[in-house]
């Protein structure tokens, strides 16, 4: 049974659900007495995928492929198909997703609405950079093909448009040619942020995929330590063996008790992870699955955070603001609220067509916080202050708590964005941002 909740499971919301199965389907919008919102797989951590008291248009049944051009690697597909399924179908033919997030279980529509980024942002930009067009259904019943040339404003507003401009029915996407399913990977342990920046500068031009894990719970001499991970698609058919992605080997069947994720367990996990990852340096070859989606091996891992749920915080600081990263680490480490798996990555200068796209050239930091009282909200608010002062911004697709004031500072173009809203659509994020 599908659960209609966000990945962070905060806030909670109650919905009616209307399932979609065909892009040709007529939707009688006036029949919905409340507001609607498209829902893919709820892999958004925050409330952009929630619509409390309203109706969710469940797109999971929109999985028809429409056409594929094997010469150019261009696929037309319905918006509810997942990146997992596209990989399954097209990787054997030598085509790969142009941008992948940290989980394979996201829909193409969701990937556009949040204009997601991956480990190759410094090269490839966001998902929206590879979208050639899509058909948008507005609540007037109009079906508009949007591309850089047709309905160009709606094209820009819908990429990163958080589902507020209408329903994406199908998408024309450019895939990326690869030599096979294997990755050539290296792990480089580092002991300070300074070293992270050096590795990044040195690697980004030679490696298509880069990302770092950093420890932001340990203080003292261990502060700022981490592991820099870089990789390329392995050339040719050099590796042998099983690469097909297996189902998750573990599933968390129910809510874990809230105390499971605490200061000690998080420290311990960080220590174990650091030792494990820095022990295998490589270069080594591995299948693409565990390289891109290490967390997918445990299904429903978000339940480990217990009933109260958790928050994910992702911030980007522009190039010249990256010096302020240190302040973030100090504040987080001092708060004692730190999380397992903080991720650090350099974003490149490639611009997304999306009006509200989150990534910009600079450095991005993402981490999880269990929800336990006000303290974490206060901490994140203080981090927002630093981000705002540094000209940075926070990822709406993962947010459940930033203030409308901060949102407007982070996205000064927000007023223009509201011009493209479809009046029948809404979300908890929209309401919270007073849009």
């Amino acid at each position: 049974m599908k659960r209609y909740e966000s990945w962070g499971r905060f806030p909670r919301a109650a919905h009616s659900v209307f399932a979609l199965n065909w892009h040709s389907q007529e939707i009688d919008f006036p029949r919905f007495t409340n507001k609607v919102l498209a829902f893919g797989l709820g892999r958004s951590y925050g409330d952009v995928c929630l619509n409390d008291g309203g109706t969710l248009l469940d797109t999971e049944g929109l999985r028809h492929l429409i056409a594929f051009d094997p010469a150019e690697g261009i696929v037309d597909c319905e918006a509810g198909i997942t990146l997992a399924e596209l990989l399954e179908i097209f990787l054997p033919k030598g085509w790969f997703a142009p941008v992948l997030p940290g989980t394979r279980h996201v829909t193409v529509g969701g990937a556009i609405a949040n204009d997601i980024h991956g480990k190759n942002h410094h090269r490839a930009g966001t998902f929206g950079c590879h979208v050639l067009g899509f058909e948008l259904l507005r609540s007037t019943g109009e079906r508009l093909f949007c591309s850089p040339d047709q309905n160009a404003e709606l094209f820009r507003a819908t990429i990163g448009g958080l589902g507020l401009t209408g329903l994406i029915l199908w998408v024309r996407l450019r895939l990326k040619a690869v030599s096979g399913p294997w990755m050539q990977v290296e792990h480089l342990p580092f002991s300070s942020l300074k070293e992270f920046f050096e590795f990044s500068r040195d690697s980004d031009s030679r490696y298509e995929y880069t990302v770092a894990w950093v420890d932001c719970v340990s203080g003292g001499g261990k502060a700022g330590r981490g592991v820099f991970i870089r990789g390329n698609h392995a050339a040719g058919k050099q590796a042998q063996g099983e690469w097909k992605s297996k189902p998750a080997f573990l599933r968390i069947p129910a809510d874990a008790p809230g105390f499971l994720i605490n200061r000690c367990s998080v420290r311990l996990l960080n220590e174990i992870y650091y030792q494990l990852q820095s022990a295998k340096r490589g270069p080594f070859t591995m299948p693409y699955g565990p390289f891109f989606f290490p967390l997918d091996s445990v299904e429903d891992w978000n339940r480990l955070y217990g009933k109260a749920g958790f928050l994910q915080y992702q911030v980007v600081l522009p190039e010249d603001g990256s010096a302020r990263l240190k302040e973030f680490f100090e504040k987080i480490s001092n708060s004692g609220l730190g999380s397992f798996l903080a991720v650090l990555k350099h974003f490149g200068p490639k611009r997304s067509p999306g009006l509200m796209s989150f990534p910009k050239a600079g450095v991005t930091l993402a981490l999880d916080f269990p929800i336990r009282g006000r303290k974490v909200f206060d901490l994140l608010n203080a981090l927002d202050e630093i981000a705002a002062a540094a000209g940075g911004s926070v990822y709406p697709g993962k947010d459940a708590r930033m203030s409308p004031g901060h949102f407007r500072k982070f996205f000064p173009q927000w007023q223009e964005f509201t011009k493209y809203f479809d009046p029948a659509f809404s979300s908890d994020f929209k309401k919270r941002m007073l849009l």
């Binding site: 049974m1 599908k2 065909w22 892009h23 040709s24 028809h64 429409i66 179908i89």
Partner: protein
Amino acid sequence: MKKIFVAGALSAIAQETARCFAAEGAAFFLAARDGEKLAISGADLKTRGASSVTVLAADFDVLESHAEIVRKAEAELGGIEIALIAYGFLPDQTACEQDFDLTLKAIHTNFISVVSLVMQLTPLFENQRGGTMAVIGSVAGDRGRPKNYVYGTSKGALALFLQGLRARLSRSGVNVLTVKPGFVDTPMTAGHAKNILFADAPSVGCAIHRAILARKDILYVPGFWRWILFVIQCIPEGLFKKLKL
């Protein structure tokens, strides 16, 4: 390359089974009511690897059309190795209790029409001395329950018919698969409140694909329904009457 005829090809479950076969390069003849959707589903299967897809708009309630449909499918495919019969109609039980026409319609679509179609297909499979006829029944056919005994009757009668046919055709090397799904989240159950017993269409569709390849006789899907139904069938009638199942 498998040659597959799908009757009721737009059923959510049938589409998933077809997708599994498409990935293996099968050739399809798809028949269902809605021509526009058939074109979409056909393009989907083609793009996923089907070697060829032909579609035909057809209403299986019209028994007189069955012979022609089967003839076309056989001609297009050059023989039929697998026939998947997936169409079905789930009526509102309380409405049926007041309305014989509705009751008849359910029995007609789910039972009479399927029997007619299977009988058109049988000589073809017998002549080939091989292949599989896979028919979607339901766990609802295993015991009559106040909540859905009209639908249950149509699927139960169908299962009985297929059981006899299976034994008969086994001598000709033809396999008859009766699929008995539990609750599945598809357009058929769109208006029903969902609970943890509901399975998703892709997993049910792929289980049917595997069962066809394995030449199974009866498939309960998901598998736990076999045990649920075993228990339900063991309950003595006197007690069963009193239970609100």
